[in-house]
Subunit: 230 residues, 2 copies
DNA sequence: CCAAAAGTGTTCATCGTACACCCATGT
DNA sequence: ACATGGGTGTACGATGAACACTTTTGG
Protein backbone atom coordinates (compact mmCIF):
# COMPACT_ATOMS: atom_id res chain seq x y z
CA UNK A 1 0.00 0.00 0.00
CA UNK A 2 2.48 2.56 1.12
CA UNK A 3 4.67 1.22 -1.65
CA UNK A 4 2.02 1.95 -4.22
CA UNK A 5 1.47 5.46 -2.96
CA UNK A 6 4.95 6.52 -3.92
CA UNK A 7 3.96 6.42 -7.57
CA UNK A 8 2.24 8.82 -9.88
CA UNK A 9 -1.31 8.38 -11.07
CA UNK A 10 -2.74 8.98 -14.52
CA UNK A 11 -5.96 9.74 -16.28
CA UNK A 12 -7.11 6.64 -18.12
CA UNK A 13 -9.46 6.92 -21.07
CA UNK A 14 -11.14 4.50 -23.42
CA UNK A 15 -11.52 5.34 -27.11
CA UNK A 16 -13.58 3.21 -29.45
CA UNK A 17 -13.34 2.57 -33.16
CA UNK A 18 -16.89 1.67 -34.09
CA UNK A 19 -17.23 -0.11 -37.41
CA UNK A 20 -20.31 -0.83 -39.43
CA UNK A 21 -21.06 -1.97 -42.94
CA UNK A 22 -23.37 0.02 -45.14
CA UNK A 23 -25.05 -2.24 -47.66
CA UNK A 24 -26.26 0.76 -49.61
CA UNK A 25 -22.89 1.85 -50.89
CA UNK A 26 -21.03 -1.33 -49.89
CA UNK A 27 -18.58 0.51 -47.70
CA UNK A 28 -17.06 -0.13 -44.33
CA UNK A 29 -17.66 2.88 -42.09
CA UNK A 30 -16.37 4.29 -38.84
CA UNK A 31 -18.35 6.41 -36.44
CA UNK A 32 -16.70 9.74 -35.57
CA UNK A 33 -17.95 12.89 -33.96
CA UNK A 34 -17.20 16.55 -33.46
CA UNK A 35 -15.49 17.01 -30.14
CA UNK A 36 -17.46 19.33 -27.90
CA UNK A 37 -14.85 20.31 -25.31
CA UNK A 38 -11.30 21.66 -25.20
CA UNK A 39 -8.67 21.01 -26.36
CA UNK A 40 -9.30 20.50 -30.07
CA UNK A 41 -12.96 21.36 -29.70
CA UNK A 42 -14.87 21.12 -32.96
CA UNK A 43 -12.47 18.66 -34.58
CA UNK A 44 -13.22 15.12 -35.60
CA UNK A 45 -12.64 12.52 -32.94
CA UNK A 46 -13.38 8.97 -31.98
CA UNK A 47 -15.91 8.32 -29.27
CA UNK A 48 -14.21 8.15 -25.90
CA UNK A 49 -14.59 8.64 -22.20
CA UNK A 50 -12.79 8.31 -18.91
CA UNK A 51 -12.40 5.21 -16.83
CA UNK A 52 -14.17 5.32 -13.48
CA UNK A 53 -13.18 3.97 -10.13
CA UNK A 54 -14.37 0.42 -9.56
CA UNK A 55 -15.11 0.01 -13.24
CA UNK A 56 -13.43 -2.69 -15.30
CA UNK A 57 -11.84 -1.38 -18.48
CA UNK A 58 -14.01 -3.66 -20.63
CA UNK A 59 -17.06 -2.26 -18.86
CA UNK A 60 -15.95 1.28 -19.52
CA UNK A 61 -15.73 0.48 -23.22
CA UNK A 62 -19.23 -0.99 -23.15
CA UNK A 63 -20.59 1.96 -21.23
CA UNK A 64 -19.15 4.45 -23.69
CA UNK A 65 -20.49 2.55 -26.67
CA UNK A 66 -23.89 2.40 -25.03
CA UNK A 67 -23.88 6.14 -24.35
CA UNK A 68 -23.39 6.88 -28.00
CA UNK A 69 -25.43 4.17 -29.69
CA UNK A 70 -27.82 2.80 -27.12
CA UNK A 71 -26.53 -0.64 -28.05
CA UNK A 72 -25.33 -3.42 -25.80
CA UNK A 73 -24.28 -7.00 -26.37
CA UNK A 74 -22.05 -5.86 -29.18
CA UNK A 75 -18.80 -7.45 -30.34
CA UNK A 76 -15.95 -5.48 -28.78
CA UNK A 77 -12.28 -6.23 -28.52
CA UNK A 78 -9.42 -4.43 -26.87
CA UNK A 79 -7.09 -3.09 -29.53
CA UNK A 80 -4.06 -1.38 -28.06
CA UNK A 81 -3.06 1.07 -25.34
CA UNK A 82 -1.70 4.41 -26.43
CA UNK A 83 0.56 6.01 -23.88
CA UNK A 84 2.84 8.62 -25.39
CA UNK A 85 3.24 11.41 -22.85
CA UNK A 86 2.21 14.15 -25.26
CA UNK A 87 -0.45 12.36 -27.26
CA UNK A 88 -3.10 14.67 -25.80
CA UNK A 89 -1.85 18.24 -25.44
CA UNK A 90 -4.40 18.99 -22.74
CA UNK A 91 -3.10 16.54 -20.18
CA UNK A 92 -1.36 13.22 -19.89
CA UNK A 93 -3.94 10.60 -20.75
CA UNK A 94 -3.39 6.89 -21.15
CA UNK A 95 -5.91 5.72 -23.72
CA UNK A 96 -7.01 2.12 -24.07
CA UNK A 97 -8.51 1.69 -27.52
CA UNK A 98 -11.28 -0.78 -28.33
CA UNK A 99 -12.96 -1.62 -31.57
CA UNK A 100 -16.61 -2.54 -31.96
CA UNK A 101 -18.58 -4.13 -34.78
CA UNK A 102 -22.23 -3.13 -35.02
CA UNK A 103 -25.12 -3.63 -37.36
CA UNK A 104 -25.76 -0.23 -38.83
CA UNK A 105 -29.53 -0.51 -38.99
CA UNK A 106 -29.72 -1.34 -35.31
CA UNK A 107 -28.70 2.16 -34.35
CA UNK A 108 -28.29 5.04 -36.81
CA UNK A 109 -31.01 7.28 -35.43
CA UNK A 110 -30.62 8.72 -31.96
CA UNK A 111 -26.87 8.91 -32.07
CA UNK A 112 -26.58 11.26 -35.00
CA UNK A 113 -29.06 13.61 -33.37
CA UNK A 114 -27.63 13.50 -29.88
CA UNK A 115 -23.89 13.63 -30.42
CA UNK A 116 -23.34 15.02 -33.89
CA UNK A 117 -21.84 11.69 -34.85
CA UNK A 118 -21.39 10.58 -38.45
CA UNK A 119 -20.55 7.41 -40.33
CA UNK A 120 -17.51 7.96 -42.53
CA UNK A 121 -16.24 5.43 -45.08
CA UNK A 122 -12.75 4.20 -44.24
CA UNK A 123 -11.67 5.35 -47.68
CA UNK A 124 -12.56 8.96 -46.85
CA UNK A 125 -11.57 9.53 -43.24
CA UNK A 126 -10.77 13.14 -42.43
CA UNK A 127 -7.85 13.89 -40.12
CA UNK A 128 -8.73 13.07 -36.53
CA UNK A 129 -7.45 14.65 -33.32
CA UNK A 130 -4.32 13.47 -31.52
CA UNK A 131 -3.41 9.89 -32.42
CA UNK A 132 -6.95 8.84 -33.29
CA UNK A 133 -6.04 8.30 -36.94
CA UNK A 134 -3.37 5.83 -35.82
CA UNK A 135 -6.03 4.09 -33.78
CA UNK A 136 -8.28 3.70 -36.80
CA UNK A 137 -5.40 2.44 -38.89
CA UNK A 138 -4.46 -0.14 -36.31
CA UNK A 139 -8.09 -1.15 -35.83
CA UNK A 140 -8.56 -1.71 -39.53
CA UNK A 141 -5.45 -3.84 -39.67
CA UNK A 142 -6.68 -5.96 -36.77
CA UNK A 143 -10.17 -6.20 -38.23
CA UNK A 144 -8.70 -7.52 -41.46
CA UNK A 145 -6.78 -10.17 -39.60
CA UNK A 146 -9.75 -11.11 -37.45
CA UNK A 147 -12.20 -11.32 -40.33
CA UNK A 148 -9.95 -13.80 -42.09
CA UNK A 149 -9.33 -15.84 -38.98
CA UNK A 150 -12.55 -15.76 -37.03
CA UNK A 151 -16.19 -15.64 -38.05
CA UNK A 152 -16.78 -12.07 -36.96
CA UNK A 153 -17.94 -10.72 -40.28
CA UNK A 154 -21.43 -11.74 -39.24
CA UNK A 155 -21.32 -9.13 -36.48
CA UNK A 156 -21.58 -6.49 -39.19
CA UNK A 157 -24.62 -7.98 -40.91
CA UNK A 158 -28.21 -8.61 -39.86
CA UNK A 159 -28.94 -12.07 -38.47
CA UNK A 160 -30.35 -13.09 -41.82
CA UNK A 161 -28.09 -12.35 -44.78
CA UNK A 162 -27.40 -13.62 -48.27
CA UNK A 163 -24.14 -14.90 -49.66
CA UNK A 164 -23.81 -11.97 -52.06
CA UNK A 165 -24.29 -9.60 -49.10
CA UNK A 166 -21.60 -11.38 -47.16
CA UNK A 167 -19.28 -11.25 -50.12
CA UNK A 168 -19.92 -7.52 -50.48
CA UNK A 169 -18.94 -7.09 -46.84
CA UNK A 170 -15.69 -8.98 -47.24
CA UNK A 171 -14.92 -7.04 -50.38
CA UNK A 172 -15.41 -3.82 -48.43
CA UNK A 173 -13.19 -5.00 -45.59
CA UNK A 174 -10.33 -6.03 -47.86
CA UNK A 175 -10.99 -3.51 -50.61
CA UNK A 176 -10.74 -6.14 -53.29
CA UNK A 177 -13.07 -8.37 -55.22
CA UNK A 178 -13.47 -12.12 -54.86
CA UNK A 179 -14.62 -14.73 -57.29
CA UNK A 180 -18.19 -15.48 -56.31
CA UNK A 181 -17.97 -19.20 -57.04
CA UNK A 182 -14.88 -19.67 -54.93
CA UNK A 183 -16.22 -17.45 -52.16
CA UNK A 184 -19.50 -19.29 -51.92
CA UNK A 185 -17.91 -22.72 -52.05
CA UNK A 186 -15.39 -21.93 -49.37
CA UNK A 187 -17.92 -20.53 -46.94
CA UNK A 188 -20.51 -23.22 -47.41
CA UNK A 189 -17.87 -25.94 -47.14
CA UNK A 190 -17.25 -24.88 -43.54
CA UNK A 191 -20.77 -25.88 -42.58
CA UNK A 192 -21.27 -22.80 -40.43
CA UNK A 193 -24.25 -21.37 -42.27
CA UNK A 194 -27.82 -22.50 -42.02
CA UNK A 195 -29.89 -21.97 -45.15
CA UNK A 196 -33.31 -20.49 -44.49
CA UNK A 197 -36.44 -21.11 -46.54
CA UNK A 198 -36.72 -17.46 -47.44
CA UNK A 199 -35.37 -15.22 -50.14
CA UNK A 200 -34.16 -11.67 -50.15
CA UNK A 201 -35.98 -10.00 -53.05
CA UNK A 202 -34.96 -6.35 -52.85
CA UNK A 203 -31.77 -6.40 -54.81
CA UNK A 204 -32.56 -8.80 -57.62
CA UNK A 205 -35.39 -10.30 -59.63
CA UNK A 206 -34.38 -13.83 -58.94
CA UNK A 207 -33.86 -13.34 -55.22
CA UNK A 208 -31.09 -14.71 -53.03
CA UNK A 209 -31.52 -17.25 -50.26
CA UNK A 210 -31.09 -16.05 -46.72
CA UNK A 211 -28.58 -17.75 -44.46
CA UNK A 212 -27.91 -17.56 -40.75
CA UNK A 213 -24.64 -18.05 -38.90
CA UNK A 214 -24.91 -21.10 -36.65
CA UNK A 215 -23.01 -20.37 -33.47
CA UNK A 216 -23.53 -23.87 -32.07
CA UNK A 217 -22.01 -25.55 -35.09
CA UNK A 218 -19.08 -23.19 -34.86
CA UNK A 219 -18.51 -23.94 -31.18
CA UNK A 220 -18.67 -27.67 -31.92
CA UNK A 221 -16.14 -27.36 -34.70
CA UNK A 222 -13.86 -25.25 -32.51
CA UNK A 223 -13.80 -28.01 -29.93
CA UNK A 224 -12.70 -30.42 -32.62
CA UNK A 225 -9.75 -28.21 -33.53
CA UNK A 226 -11.37 -26.47 -36.48
CA UNK A 227 -9.83 -23.20 -37.65
CA UNK A 228 -11.90 -20.66 -39.49
CA UNK A 229 -9.93 -19.32 -42.42
CA UNK A 230 -11.17 -17.34 -45.35
CA UNK B 1 -8.17 20.98 -18.76
CA UNK B 2 -10.72 21.67 -16.13
CA UNK B 3 -12.74 19.03 -17.91
CA UNK B 4 -9.98 16.48 -17.43
CA UNK B 5 -9.61 17.29 -13.77
CA UNK B 6 -13.10 16.10 -12.98
CA UNK B 7 -11.97 12.52 -13.52
CA UNK B 8 -10.20 9.97 -11.37
CA UNK B 9 -6.60 8.99 -11.82
CA UNK B 10 -5.05 5.55 -11.60
CA UNK B 11 -1.78 3.85 -10.94
CA UNK B 12 -0.44 2.46 -14.19
CA UNK B 13 2.03 -0.40 -14.19
CA UNK B 14 3.90 -2.35 -16.83
CA UNK B 15 4.41 -6.09 -16.45
CA UNK B 16 6.64 -8.07 -18.79
CA UNK B 17 6.58 -11.66 -19.89
CA UNK B 18 10.20 -12.33 -20.76
CA UNK B 19 10.74 -15.38 -22.95
CA UNK B 20 13.92 -17.16 -23.79
CA UNK B 21 14.86 -20.46 -25.35
CA UNK B 22 17.18 -22.83 -23.53
CA UNK B 23 19.05 -24.95 -26.05
CA UNK B 24 20.22 -27.23 -23.28
CA UNK B 25 16.87 -28.77 -22.53
CA UNK B 26 15.10 -27.42 -25.62
CA UNK B 27 12.50 -25.58 -23.59
CA UNK B 28 10.86 -22.22 -23.85
CA UNK B 29 11.24 -20.38 -20.57
CA UNK B 30 9.76 -17.39 -18.80
CA UNK B 31 11.56 -15.23 -16.29
CA UNK B 32 9.76 -14.88 -12.97
CA UNK B 33 10.81 -13.64 -9.57
CA UNK B 34 9.89 -13.67 -5.92
CA UNK B 35 8.03 -10.50 -5.13
CA UNK B 36 9.80 -8.52 -2.43
CA UNK B 37 7.04 -6.21 -1.26
CA UNK B 38 3.48 -6.37 -0.04
CA UNK B 39 0.92 -7.54 -0.93
CA UNK B 40 1.72 -11.11 -1.91
CA UNK B 41 5.33 -10.73 -0.83
CA UNK B 42 7.38 -13.85 -1.44
CA UNK B 43 5.15 -15.21 -4.18
CA UNK B 44 6.09 -15.73 -7.81
CA UNK B 45 5.47 -12.77 -10.03
CA UNK B 46 6.32 -11.33 -13.40
CA UNK B 47 8.77 -8.47 -13.58
CA UNK B 48 6.94 -5.18 -13.39
CA UNK B 49 7.13 -1.56 -12.43
CA UNK B 50 5.22 1.66 -12.40
CA UNK B 51 4.86 4.12 -15.21
CA UNK B 52 6.47 7.49 -14.58
CA UNK B 53 5.37 10.96 -15.54
CA UNK B 54 6.67 12.03 -18.94
CA UNK B 55 7.60 8.47 -19.79
CA UNK B 56 6.11 6.71 -22.81
CA UNK B 57 4.61 3.33 -21.99
CA UNK B 58 6.96 1.58 -24.42
CA UNK B 59 9.87 3.26 -22.68
CA UNK B 60 8.66 2.11 -19.30
CA UNK B 61 8.63 -1.46 -20.58
CA UNK B 62 12.17 -1.06 -21.89
CA UNK B 63 13.34 0.50 -18.66
CA UNK B 64 11.91 -2.30 -16.58
CA UNK B 65 13.46 -4.96 -18.79
CA UNK B 66 16.78 -3.18 -18.57
CA UNK B 67 16.58 -3.01 -14.78
CA UNK B 68 16.21 -6.74 -14.55
CA UNK B 69 18.44 -7.98 -17.36
CA UNK B 70 20.78 -5.16 -18.27
CA UNK B 71 19.66 -5.69 -21.86
CA UNK B 72 18.48 -3.15 -24.38
CA UNK B 73 17.58 -3.27 -28.06
CA UNK B 74 15.44 -6.29 -27.36
CA UNK B 75 12.29 -7.36 -29.23
CA UNK B 76 9.31 -6.18 -27.20
CA UNK B 77 5.67 -5.95 -28.07
CA UNK B 78 2.67 -4.67 -26.20
CA UNK B 79 0.41 -7.56 -25.32
CA UNK B 80 -2.74 -6.42 -23.56
CA UNK B 81 -3.95 -4.10 -20.83
CA UNK B 82 -5.39 -5.69 -17.72
CA UNK B 83 -7.80 -3.45 -15.90
CA UNK B 84 -10.12 -5.36 -13.61
CA UNK B 85 -10.75 -3.23 -10.53
CA UNK B 86 -9.73 -5.93 -8.07
CA UNK B 87 -6.91 -7.57 -9.99
CA UNK B 88 -4.42 -6.35 -7.40
CA UNK B 89 -5.82 -6.49 -3.86
CA UNK B 90 -3.40 -3.83 -2.66
CA UNK B 91 -4.73 -1.02 -4.83
CA UNK B 92 -6.35 -0.37 -8.15
CA UNK B 93 -3.64 -0.78 -10.75
CA UNK B 94 -4.03 -0.73 -14.51
CA UNK B 95 -1.36 -3.01 -15.89
CA UNK B 96 -0.10 -2.83 -19.45
CA UNK B 97 1.56 -6.15 -20.26
CA UNK B 98 4.45 -6.52 -22.69
CA UNK B 99 6.30 -9.56 -23.86
CA UNK B 100 9.98 -9.68 -24.67
CA UNK B 101 12.14 -12.19 -26.53
CA UNK B 102 15.73 -12.42 -25.41
CA UNK B 103 18.74 -14.58 -26.11
CA UNK B 104 19.28 -16.46 -22.89
CA UNK B 105 23.07 -16.43 -23.02
CA UNK B 106 23.14 -12.68 -23.36
CA UNK B 107 21.96 -12.25 -19.80
CA UNK B 108 21.50 -15.09 -17.32
CA UNK B 109 24.06 -13.91 -14.79
CA UNK B 110 23.51 -10.69 -12.88
CA UNK B 111 19.77 -10.90 -12.90
CA UNK B 112 19.47 -14.13 -10.98
CA UNK B 113 21.79 -12.75 -8.33
CA UNK B 114 20.24 -9.33 -8.02
CA UNK B 115 16.53 -10.01 -8.12
CA UNK B 116 16.07 -13.63 -7.21
CA UNK B 117 14.78 -14.22 -10.72
CA UNK B 118 14.53 -17.66 -12.31
CA UNK B 119 13.89 -19.13 -15.72
CA UNK B 120 10.93 -21.48 -15.59
CA UNK B 121 9.86 -23.74 -18.49
CA UNK B 122 6.41 -22.87 -19.73
CA UNK B 123 5.42 -26.47 -19.09
CA UNK B 124 6.14 -26.08 -15.37
CA UNK B 125 4.98 -22.63 -14.39
CA UNK B 126 4.00 -22.32 -10.73
CA UNK B 127 0.97 -20.24 -9.81
CA UNK B 128 1.72 -16.55 -10.13
CA UNK B 129 0.25 -13.62 -8.21
CA UNK B 130 -2.91 -11.81 -9.28
CA UNK B 131 -3.64 -12.26 -12.98
CA UNK B 132 -0.04 -12.86 -13.98
CA UNK B 133 -0.75 -16.44 -15.01
CA UNK B 134 -3.38 -15.11 -17.44
CA UNK B 135 -0.76 -12.76 -18.79
CA UNK B 136 1.64 -15.61 -19.46
CA UNK B 137 -1.09 -17.63 -21.09
CA UNK B 138 -2.04 -14.77 -23.36
CA UNK B 139 1.59 -14.02 -24.16
CA UNK B 140 2.23 -17.60 -25.16
CA UNK B 141 -0.77 -17.57 -27.42
CA UNK B 142 0.40 -14.38 -29.10
CA UNK B 143 3.95 -15.65 -29.38
CA UNK B 144 2.67 -18.74 -31.18
CA UNK B 145 0.77 -16.61 -33.64
CA UNK B 146 3.68 -14.24 -34.16
CA UNK B 147 6.26 -16.98 -34.64
CA UNK B 148 4.18 -18.48 -37.41
CA UNK B 149 3.50 -15.16 -39.06
CA UNK B 150 6.63 -13.12 -38.59
CA UNK B 151 10.31 -14.02 -38.45
CA UNK B 152 10.72 -13.37 -34.74
CA UNK B 153 11.97 -16.81 -33.79
CA UNK B 154 15.44 -15.51 -34.52
CA UNK B 155 15.12 -13.11 -31.58
CA UNK B 156 15.36 -16.13 -29.31
CA UNK B 157 18.54 -17.53 -30.87
CA UNK B 158 22.10 -16.26 -31.20
CA UNK B 159 22.92 -14.41 -34.41
CA UNK B 160 24.50 -17.55 -35.81
CA UNK B 161 22.34 -20.65 -35.55
CA UNK B 162 21.85 -23.97 -37.27
CA UNK B 163 18.70 -25.31 -38.86
CA UNK B 164 18.35 -28.06 -36.27
CA UNK B 165 18.61 -25.43 -33.52
CA UNK B 166 15.91 -23.38 -35.18
CA UNK B 167 13.72 -26.42 -35.52
CA UNK B 168 14.24 -27.24 -31.85
CA UNK B 169 13.09 -23.73 -30.99
CA UNK B 170 9.93 -24.00 -33.06
CA UNK B 171 9.22 -27.40 -31.57
CA UNK B 172 9.52 -25.86 -28.12
CA UNK B 173 7.23 -22.97 -29.02
CA UNK B 174 4.50 -25.20 -30.44
CA UNK B 175 5.16 -28.23 -28.29
CA UNK B 176 5.13 -30.55 -31.26
CA UNK B 177 7.64 -32.09 -33.59
CA UNK B 178 8.16 -31.23 -37.25
CA UNK B 179 9.54 -33.26 -40.09
CA UNK B 180 13.09 -32.05 -40.54
CA UNK B 181 13.06 -32.30 -44.32
CA UNK B 182 9.89 -30.26 -44.66
CA UNK B 183 11.00 -27.75 -42.04
CA UNK B 184 14.31 -27.14 -43.72
CA UNK B 185 12.86 -26.91 -47.19
CA UNK B 186 10.21 -24.43 -46.16
CA UNK B 187 12.56 -22.10 -44.36
CA UNK B 188 15.29 -22.12 -46.97
CA UNK B 189 12.76 -21.61 -49.76
CA UNK B 190 11.93 -18.20 -48.27
CA UNK B 191 15.44 -16.99 -48.99
CA UNK B 192 15.73 -15.25 -45.66
CA UNK B 193 18.73 -17.13 -44.32
CA UNK B 194 22.32 -16.62 -45.26
CA UNK B 195 24.49 -19.71 -45.03
CA UNK B 196 27.83 -19.12 -43.34
CA UNK B 197 31.07 -20.96 -44.07
CA UNK B 198 31.26 -22.29 -40.57
CA UNK B 199 29.92 -25.30 -38.73
CA UNK B 200 28.59 -25.83 -35.27
CA UNK B 201 30.48 -28.82 -33.90
CA UNK B 202 29.29 -29.14 -30.31
CA UNK B 203 26.22 -31.20 -30.74
CA UNK B 204 27.22 -33.67 -33.45
CA UNK B 205 30.18 -35.36 -35.06
CA UNK B 206 29.31 -34.22 -38.52
CA UNK B 207 28.62 -30.62 -37.57
CA UNK B 208 25.78 -28.39 -38.78
CA UNK B 209 26.16 -25.30 -40.93
CA UNK B 210 25.55 -21.98 -39.31
CA UNK B 211 23.01 -19.60 -40.84
CA UNK B 212 22.18 -16.00 -40.20
CA UNK B 213 18.86 -14.21 -40.60
CA UNK B 214 19.15 -11.58 -43.33
CA UNK B 215 17.09 -8.59 -42.27
CA UNK B 216 17.68 -6.74 -45.54
CA UNK B 217 16.37 -9.57 -47.65
CA UNK B 218 13.34 -9.75 -45.42
CA UNK B 219 12.64 -6.04 -45.71
CA UNK B 220 12.98 -6.28 -49.49
CA UNK B 221 10.55 -9.16 -49.65
CA UNK B 222 8.11 -7.34 -47.38
CA UNK B 223 8.05 -4.43 -49.77
CA UNK B 224 7.15 -6.83 -52.55
CA UNK B 225 4.17 -8.12 -50.59
CA UNK B 226 5.83 -11.22 -49.19
CA UNK B 227 4.22 -12.84 -46.15
CA UNK B 228 6.27 -14.92 -43.78
CA UNK B 229 4.36 -18.07 -42.92
CA UNK B 230 5.64 -21.18 -41.30
C1' DC C 1 -38.23 -11.07 -74.31
C1' DC C 2 -34.78 -8.67 -71.93
C1' DA C 3 -32.03 -7.01 -68.18
C1' DA C 4 -29.91 -8.01 -63.83
C1' DA C 5 -28.27 -10.53 -60.26
C1' DA C 6 -28.08 -15.52 -58.42
C1' DG C 7 -26.29 -19.72 -58.78
C1' DT C 8 -23.32 -23.68 -60.42
C1' DG C 9 -18.39 -27.31 -62.03
C1' DT C 10 -14.06 -28.20 -63.84
C1' DT C 11 -9.18 -27.73 -64.61
C1' DC C 12 -4.63 -26.69 -63.22
C1' DA C 13 -0.86 -25.28 -60.46
C1' DT C 14 0.76 -25.02 -55.87
C1' DC C 15 1.59 -26.42 -51.44
C1' DG C 16 1.60 -29.35 -47.30
C1' DT C 17 2.65 -33.85 -45.78
C1' DA C 18 4.32 -38.29 -45.34
C1' DC C 19 8.17 -41.06 -45.64
C1' DA C 20 13.70 -43.74 -45.65
C1' DC C 21 18.20 -43.60 -46.67
C1' DC C 22 23.13 -41.82 -47.07
C1' DC C 23 26.85 -38.64 -45.10
C1' DA C 24 30.52 -36.98 -42.14
C1' DT C 25 33.17 -37.55 -38.29
C1' DG C 26 34.99 -38.42 -33.41
C1' DT C 27 35.78 -42.10 -30.62
C1' DA D 1 33.58 -50.00 -37.36
C1' DC D 2 30.08 -47.83 -35.28
C1' DA D 3 27.16 -44.51 -33.20
C1' DT D 4 25.25 -39.96 -33.61
C1' DG D 5 23.07 -36.32 -35.47
C1' DG D 6 23.10 -33.73 -40.28
C1' DG D 7 21.46 -33.66 -44.61
C1' DT D 8 18.66 -34.89 -48.92
C1' DG D 9 14.23 -36.21 -52.82
C1' DT D 10 9.89 -37.99 -54.28
C1' DA D 11 5.03 -39.10 -54.60
C1' DC D 12 0.31 -38.04 -53.35
C1' DG D 13 -3.62 -35.63 -51.85
C1' DA D 14 -5.62 -31.22 -50.64
C1' DT D 15 -6.25 -26.67 -51.44
C1' DG D 16 -6.52 -22.10 -53.81
C1' DA D 17 -7.22 -19.73 -58.23
C1' DA D 18 -8.90 -19.02 -62.70
C1' DC D 19 -12.63 -19.16 -65.69
C1' DA D 20 -18.24 -18.98 -68.56
C1' DC D 21 -22.64 -20.28 -68.82
C1' DT D 22 -27.54 -21.14 -67.10
C1' DT D 23 -31.46 -19.74 -64.10
C1' DT D 24 -35.05 -16.86 -62.37
C1' DT D 25 -38.30 -13.29 -62.62
C1' DG D 26 -40.15 -8.38 -62.71
C1' DG D 27 -40.93 -5.17 -65.91
Amino acid sequence: MSYYQEHEKFHVAVDSIIFSYDEGDRELKVLILKRNFQPAQGNWSLMGGFLKNDEAVDDAAKRILHQLTGLSGVYMEQLYTFGEPDRDPGARIISIAYFALIKINASDLELVKNHGATWIPISAMPPLIFDHSDMVKRALKKLRIRARTQPIGFELLPDKFTIPQLQGLYEAIYNKTFDKRNFRRKLLSMNLLEKLEEKEKESSRKGAWYYRFDQKKYDDLLNRGFNFEL
